[in-house]
C-alpha cells in the first residue's frame, strides 16, 4: 500500500467533519477508495490517490523550522503557516490584492492613519472558539515584545509606537497603536499613512496566535514551548495540522471551523521536505508529488520541449545583484561602479549561464510590482564602459588595483561569478579574483562590509517597491554598500508615504530609483523566477510574482496520470 495509514484516515475523517453537502458524494467516494485500497492496490502513486481523495502532495523545499508565526522565518515555513493560519487580510493568488481574511472589511480614516478592521462574524479557531479583535491585540504585543526575539518584528513598525516598544524604549504595551474597540472591531493607528499596510497584514508576522493555547503550554514569549505540536496547535486558517513527522512529511487537513470552509476544495495537503532538487524531480516524475518546489537548471531545456509540459515558470519578486563597497577604492568612484555594470552582457548571461530561466535586471525593483515599472537607464555598452573606466584613471585596465568578488558556496553563484569575471576581463581588461565563502562566513563578510564586490539576493516580503527601495536608505540595516544620499532618504522616507495617489507615489519611487541607479551602489543582474513542476490535475494555483499559493482555492481534478518521458 502506498499512502501511510494516517492519510487514509484523513480521507475518511474529512467526510465526517465537513459540514457542507458537497462532501457527501466525496465521502462515499473516499469509502470506495478505501475499500479499493484494502483490496490491495500496491504501487498506486500518491498523485492517483490524491486526485481521488482530494489530497495534494506538495514539495516544500527544506524542513520547516517550526510553525509559530512570531518565531520562524523562511519560505517553506510561510507555505505551511499560510495554509494553517490567516491574517486580517489574505492575498488573492491571481491579483495579489488583499482580500478579506480574519477581517471581513476595513475602512481608513480621513488622514489614512487609522484603519478600523471589522472581524469576520463567523471567524473561528480550529477548536471552535471565535477569533476576536482581542486575539490580534494580544498577538501583536507578543510579536513586538523584545523578549520574543522575533526576527520579523519590524514588519509591524508602521504601527504607532511599535518600533519603540520592540526596541525596549517603551515598556507599556497599552501605548501601541492597536486596540480592540469591542470583540469584533480592531483599530490600528499608524505612524504615518502606509499605502502597503494591508499587504503586511497577510504576512505571517502579523498573524494572530491562540492566546489560550499558547499560555497553556508556557509563557507568552517562550520560544521553546510545545504549543505548535500536532495535537496541541490551534489555528484559524483553511487547514489544521494533523501530523508532523520530522524530515518526512507534514500533513494538514481541512479545518471544518474555518469561516470560508465552503470555498476550500482540498481535504488535505501533505508537505514534503525536498531540499535535494534532483531527488524531487524524480519524485515528481514517478507521480509521488503533485507540485515540486523547484526544478534543476539542467532539466529545464528537456521540460520546455515537452508538449503539455508540467513546467511552470514565472517571474518572482526578487532580484539577484552584486553589492559594491562604495567605501573602498576603486569602487568609491561612481565611474568605476558604472563601468563595471555597463560591461555586463546580462542577455548573454541569462541565456547561456541560466538557461533562459530568468530575465536580465537593470534596477533593484523587479518589473511589474503592482504595476510599478522600474527605470532602465543603461544596457550592455562596452564602449561607454571603457570610456568611464579610462576617465576614472584606468585606461584599458592600466594601473588597475584589483578587486575581489565574494559569493557564497553554490554551483550557480560560481558559474555566474566566473562569467562576470570573464566579461570584465574581456570588456575592461581588468583582473577580478573570486572568493567562495561558506554561507555563514559570507553573511558575516557582507554585514561587516568586509568585501569589494559581493553577490546578494533580495526577495520581497510584500508587493510594493518600498520593500526594495528602502534597503538603500543611509545606514539601513540591509544597505551593506556604504551608499548614503540624504535626497534619496527624503524621497523614500518622507515624500513617498505622503503621496496622495498611487501614481504620484510610484512617480516618486521612479525618481528615487533613477537616482539610485545613477549612483550604482549595486549591480543588478537578473530577476528571480519561480520554477515548478505542476501536475495537470492541479487547479486554482496560478503562478504569481510572490510565488504565493493560496491553498484555499486549490483543487484537484481527477484525470489519468501523465507520463513525462524526458529524453
Amino acid at each position: 500500500m502506498n499512502l501511510p495509514r494516517e492519510l487514509l484516515a484523513l480521507g475518511r475523517k474529512t467526510g465526517y467533519f465537513s459540514p457542507m453537502p458537497r462532501c457527501f458524494p466525496r465521502y462515499l467516494l473516499l469509502l470506495a477508495a478505501f475499500a479499493g485500497l484494502l483490496a490491495c492496490s500496491a504501487g498506486e502513486s500518491n498523485v492517483a490517490q490524491g486526485n481521488r481523495d482530494g489530497i495534494l502532495h506538495f514539495g516544500n523545499g527544506s524542513e520547516p523550522q517550526g510553525l509559530d508565526p512570531h518565531v520562524v522565518t523562511g519560505v517553506p515555513e510561510s507555505k505551511l503557516i499560510d495554509a494553517m493560519f490567516e491574517g486580517l487580510t489574505r492575498k488573492n493568488p491571481w491579483t495579489l490584492e488583499p482580500e478579506p481574511g480574519a477581517a471581513a472589511s476595513w475602512e481608513f480614516s480621513e488622514d489614512r492613519r487609522v484603519i478600523t478592521f471589522h472581524m469576520q462574524p463567523e471567524g473561528r479557531w480550529s477548536n471552535g472558539e471565535p477569533v476576536t479583535a482581542h486575539d490580534f491585540v494580544w498577538s501583536w504585543r507578543r510579536a513586538l515584545d523584545p523578549k520574543m526575539g522575533n526576527l520579523y518584528a519590524y514588519m509591524l513598525y508602521p504601527v504607532l509606537n511599535a518600533e519603540a516598544y520592540a526596541t525596549g524604549m517603551l515598556d507599556d504595551p497599552e501605548l501601541l497603536g492597536v486596540r480592540a474597540l469591542d470583540a469584533m472591531t480592531l483599530e490600528v493607528t499608524l505612524n504615518e499613512p502606509t499605502p502597503y499596510f494591508l499587504q503586511l497584514m497577510d504576512h505571517y508576522s502579523s498573524f494572530a496566535v491562540p492566546r489560550a493555547t499558547v499560555e497553556e503550554f508556557g509563557a507568552a514569549t517562550d520560544r521553546f514551548t510545545r504549543w505548535t505540536r500536532a495535537g496541541n496547535i490551534v489555528s484559524n486558517g483553511p487547514f489544521r495540522l494533523l501530523q508532523w513527522q520530522l524530515n518526512r512529511r507534514i500533513v494538514v487537513e481541512k479545518n471544518p471551523h474555518y469561516w470560508d470552509a465552503d470555498t476550500v476544495r482540498l481535504n488535505g495537503v501533505v508537505f514534503y521536505p525536498t531540499e535535494n532538487l534532483v531527488s524531487e524531480e524524480r519524485m515528481f516524475r514517478v507521480n509521488q508529488l503533485h507540485v515540486s518546489n523547484d526544478v534543476p537548471l539542467a532539466k529545464l531545456p528537456d521540460y520546455r520541449k515537452l508538449k503539455d509540459s508540467p513546467l511552470v515558470e514565472a517571474p518572482y519578486l526578487g532580484t539577484y545583484f552584486y553589492l559594491l563597497n562604495t567605501r573602498r577604492p576603486p569602487l568609491d568612484d561612481v565611474r568605476v561602479r558604472r563601468a563595471l555594470s555597463l560591461a555586463l552582457d546580462r542577455e548573454s548571461l541569462t541565456r547561456n549561464v541560466l538557461h533562459g530561466s530568468n530575465d536580465p535586471a537593470y534596477a533593484i525593483t523587479p518589473p511589474g510590482t503592482l504595476g510599478y515599472q522600474p527605470p532602465q537607464l543603461f544596457s550592455f555598452d562596452p564602449e561607454q564602459a571603457r570610456r568611464l573606466l579610462a576617465e576614472a584613471g584606468y585606461p584599458d585596465g592600466a594601473d588597475w588595483p584589483g578587486l575581489e568578488l565574494t559569493y557564497n558556496t553554490s554551483e550557480s553563484h560560481r558559474k555566474i561569478a566566473v562569467a562576470v569575471q570573464q566579461m570584465w576581463k574581456d570588456v575592461l581588461n581588468i583582473e577580478v579574483t573570486l572568493a567562495n565563502q561558506e554561507w555563514k562566513v559570507y553573511l558575516d563578510s557582507v554585514s561587516e562590509m568586509n568585501f569589494d564586490v559581493a553577490r546578494r539576493g533580495w526577495i520581497g516580503d510584500y508587493v510594493d517597491p518600498n520593500n526594495f527601495l528602502d534597503l538603500y536608505i543611509s545606514d539601513g540595516g540591509n544597505n551593506n554598500t556604504g551608499f548614503a544620499d540624504p535626497v534619496y532618504d527624503e524621497m523614500i522616507l518622507r515624500r513617498a508615504p505622503q503621496a496622495a495617489t498611487k501614481e504620484e507615489r510610484f512617480a516618486i519611487f521612479h525618481e528615487a530609483e533613477t537616482r539610485l541607479m545613477e549612483q550604482m551602489p549595486i549591480i543588478p543582474i537578473y530577476t528571480y523566477a519561480s520554477k515548478h513542476l505542476v501536475h495537470p490535475s492541479v487547479k486554482g494555483m496560478p503562478s504569481n510574482l510572490m510565488d504565493f499559493v493560496n491553498m484555499k482555492y486549490v483543487d484537484l481534478e481527477p484525470m489519468p496520470l501523465a507520463e513525462f518521458e524526458l529524453e
Binding site: 502506498n2 501511510p4 500496491a42 504501487g43 524542513e63 523550522q65 517550526g66 509559530d68 518565531v71 520562524v72 522565518t73 523584545p146 523578549k147 520574543m148 526575539g149 522575533n150 526576527l151 518584528a153 519590524y154 520592540a166 526596541t167 525596549g168 520560544r223 521553546f224 514551548t225 510545545r226 505548535t228 505540536r229 513527522q245 520530522l246 524530515n247 518526512r248 514534503y272 521536505p273 525536498t274 531540499e275 535535494n276 534532483v278 531527488s279 524524480r282 519524485m283 516524475r285 514517478v286 509521488q288 561558506e438 554561507w439 555563514k440 562566513v441 559570507y442 553573511l443 558575516d444 554585514s447 539576493g457 539601513g476 540595516g477 540591509n478
Partner: protein, 310 residues
C-alpha cells in the same frame, strides 16, 4: 575480561570529554553565528535571542553550563528548530539511520564476505581477480554517483523500485541499503580475502586437510572463523561510520535520518545540534569499537588469553 571492558570504558571518558571540548570551542570560533541571516537582525532582537540560548554568558560559563546539562542527559534546545530539543531531533532521526546502517552492513557482510572468501579459494586466478576488481571499483565509486545510477536503472527505466522515501512504499529501503552498503562490501571483500589467505596457509589447515576433510569443510569449519577476524574487527568502526556517514544517501533518497540533521546543523551554526550529534556519534564509535574488540577476542583464543592475563 571484565577488567578489560571496564578499563576500556574508563579510557573512553577522557576521549569523549576531549571531543566535546574541542567541538564546543571550534563551532564558536567559526565565523558567523546561528542568528545571522540574509536580512539584518535588529540588535535588540539578537540580544533577546542570545539571552534565551545563554549565548550572553562568558564562554567559560557557557561551557560549564553545557557540561552540567550533558551530565543530566540534556543536549539543549536546537537553534534551527525552535521549540525542539536536540534529544528529540536525534531520537527522531536515529531509527531511520540505524535501520539503514544495519541493512547496509548486512549487504556489506553478505556480499563482501562471500566475494572475499570465494576469491581467496583460488588466489591469483580469474576467480580472484574478477571479484577483487569489482571490489576496487566499489571502493572508488562514491555513493553520490552510485545512488543516482541505481535510481536511474531500477527506479526510472525499469520501474522496479521506488526512487525515494523510507518505509512509505514496499521496496523503498532496497536501493539506499545497497548504495550505502556497496563501498563497505568492497572493503569487507578485500579484508576477508586477505584474512582467509593468511589462515589457509596455517599449519592447522594443513592438519585438517591431512585428516582427509573435503575442501568445503576445511573452509567452513576451520578457516572461516579465523579468516573473518579482521572483518569482525572492522565491523564496529564500520557500523559507526555508516551511521555518521549516511548523510549523502539520506539526501539522495530523502530519508528522514540523523545524517541530514548533522550536516545541516554545521551549515546553520546550530551549536547545540552540532555538539549533541557529535557527542552522540563519538560515544557510539567508542562503544562499537569496544564491542568489536570483545567479539574479536571471543573468536580468537590467542587474544582471549592475552586479555585474561591483563
Amino acid at each position: 575480561m571484565w577488567r578489560f571492558v571496564g578499563g576500556r570504558l574508563l579510557q573512553a571518558i577522557p576521549v569523549i570529554l576531549a571531543v566535546i571540548t574541542v567541538t564546543f570551542f571550534l563551532v564558536r570560533i567559526a565565523p558567523g553565528g546561528p542568528f545571522d541571516s540574509e536580512k539584518a537582525v535588529i540588535p535588540e532582537v539578537k540580544a533577546a535571542l542570545e539571552a534565551q540560548y545563554r549565548l550572553d554568558l562568558p564562554l567559560g560559563q557557557q561551557y560549564l553550563a553545557y557540561l552540567s546539562d550533558l551530565a543530566r542527559g540534556e543536549l539543549g534546545p536546537s537553534f534551527k528548530y525552535p521549540g525542539r530539543s536536540v534529544n528529540e531531533l536525534i531520537a527522531a532521526g536515529l531509527p531511520a539511520t540505524a535501520e539503514l546502517g544495519a541493512y547496509a552492513l548486512l549487504v556489506a557482510v553478505l556480499l563482501g564476505g562471500l566475494a572475499g572468501v570465494f576469491a581467496s579459494l583460488k588466489p591469483n586466478s580469474a576467480q580472484d581477480y574478477i571479484p577483487m576488481s569489482v571490489a576496487m571499483i566499489g571502493i572508488c565509486m562514491p555513493t553520490f554517483l552510485l545512488g543516482p545510477l541505481l535510481v536511474l536503472v531500477f527506479g526510472i527505466h525499469l520501474e522496479w523500485l521506488p526512487v525515494s522515501g523510507w518505509g512509505d512504499m514496499p521496496g523503498d529501503k532496497i536501493l539506499p541499503s545497497l548504495t550505502l552498503g556497496a563501498a563497505y562490501a568492497a572493503y569487507i571483500a578485500r579484508l576477508s580475502r586477505a584474512g582467509m589467505l593468511e589462515v589457509m596457509s596455517q599449519d592447522y589447515i594443513r592438519t585438517a586437510r591431512a585428516k582427509g576433510l573435503p575442501e568445503w569443510q576445511v573452509v567452513t569449519r576451520h578457516a572461516l572463523r579465523g579468516g573473518l577476524i579482521p572483518v569482525v574487527a572492522f565491523l564496529g568502526p564500520a557500523f559507526a561510520g555508516l551511521l555518521a556517514g549516511s548523510f549523502v544517501v539520506e539526501t539522495i533518497f530523502q530519508i528522514p535520518g540523523l545524517g541530514r540533521f548533522y550536516v545541516q546543523a554545521a551549515f546553520n551554526r546550530d551549536y547545540t545540534m552540532i555538539l549533541g550529534t557529535t557527542v552522540f556519534l563519538s560515544t557510539l564509535i567508542v562503544l562499537f569499537n569496544l564491542l568489536s574488540d570483545i567479539l574479536a577476542a571471543w573468536l580468537n583464543p590467542r587474544l582471549r588469553a592475552q586479555y585474561g592475563e591483563a
